[in-house]
């Protein structure tokens, strides 16, 4: 893995991971979040809103791997509505690509909340 430590300040910490079985652990500055394994990183990031998950996906590869893992409950309604208002679209203009991208990126969705009232979408759902 291509990881460099940022800064050479002592004290270092071994990567925290309960799933890491190999003993060749890299060490990270103790004040760097990079020291956390994917599991703990995922737990931390699970408290972000869906919107922030998308915004922070490009922080690092670890974040990209972890950020959507624990998004179990997704209420896209708010986001889609906001997007509609911001881009001046009406309820009929749902961008299905957005919904597809949400579903693709969040592998563990258990619930997906969206409420749509319109003839067009009514037909789509039929």
């Amino acid at each position: 893995m291509d990881r460099r430590s940022c800064g050479q300040k002592p004290p270092k910490r071994a990567k925290t991971s309960m799933t890491d079985t190999n003993r060749t652990q890299e060490e990270y500055p103790k004040d760097s979040l990079d020291r956390y394994g994917d599991d703990l990183c995922g737990v931390i990031l699970s408290y972000l809103s869906l919107e922030e998950c998308f915004r922070f996906e490009c922080v690092s590869k670890q974040w990209q791997r972890s950020v959507f893992k624990r998004q179990n409950y997704v209420n896209v309604e708010k986001h889609v509505k906001k997007w509609q208002i911001m881009s001046g679209k009406t309820i009929e203009d749902i961008d299905w690509q957005i919904l597809e991208s949400v579903v693709r990126k969040c592998p563990n969705i258990r619930r997906f909340d969206i409420e749509i009232h319109s003839e067009v979408t009514g037909r789509v759902f039929e």
């Binding site: 910490r13 925290t16 004040d31 703990l40 972000l48 490009c58 690092s60 208002i85």
Partner: protein, 213 residues
């Protein structure tokens, strides 16, 4: 490793002690009794030993908020709980469990020991996740030294104290709310391992989330 304590990973400690009840009155009585038992047990003090060797005292009920410590204690199969107090300190073998971190963790569990236990299968998990931190927790977790903060969260994760990990996680998420990716990297000292092209591609894909009027 101290051979005295072994980590028994088999589940099943949570449900023990709850007798099956048939009606609301029994339920209430059982709850009362359990509460009293927890209170009594918390008067028993046990010792926890940090990775650096510092020993800290902690109420038994409070200490059991750590699933790891609870499992270790269960593995002892000690029926006389008062004997636990005279035992050797429980060693916590992880470099994140520094003296400072353990001191803070003991402070946290001592304050929270009588919280209602978290039921992970319960549906109000979503509500709890969205709940704001209490004033006490906010002050508790507002730690200037980021290395120390990360130690505490990592140590709480190692000891399996879900509530405290949650406090830490919410705190970090609150701190980065509304920040840009660059600011987040700077703040949490995260190394950006994307190429500029990769980053641009993600940006493009997620464009809709940045939509502004």
């Amino acid at each position: 490793m101290n051979g005295e304590y072994s980590l028994d990973t088999t589940e099943g400690m949570a449900a023990s002690g709850d007798p099956p009840t048939n009606n609301a009155v029994d339920d209430y009585d059982a709850e009362e009794a359990l509460e009293r038992q927890r209170e009594e047990e918390n008067k028993i003090k046990i010792k926890l030993k940090s990775f650096e060797g510092g020993v800290y005292e902690c109420g038994l009920t409070a200490a059991k908020m750590s699933v790891m410590v609870a499992n270790m204690l269960d593995a002892l199969q000690e029926t006389d709980l008062t004997k636990i107090a005279t035992r050797e300190p429980i060693p916590l073998q992880n470099d994140a469990v520094t003296n400072k971190a353990l001191e803070k963790i003991v402070e946290w569990v001592d304050h929270h020991w009588d919280d209602p236990p978290i039921d992970p299968d319960f549906d109000d998990e979503k509500e709890r996740r969205n709940e704001e931190l209490s004033h006490w927790d906010k002050q508790f977790i507002d730690i200037a030294d980021q290395g120390e903060l990360f130690d505490i969260i990592a140590a709480a994760n190692f000891m399996d104290i879900k509530g405290l990990v949650e406090v830490g996680a919410k705190h970090i998420c609150n701190k980065i709310k509304g920040k840009s990716c660059t600011e987040v990297r700077e703040m949490l000292k995260i190394h950006n391992d994307f190429t500029p092209e990769e980053e641009a591609a993600i940006h493009k894909e997620n464009e809709w989330i940045y939509a502004k009027d």
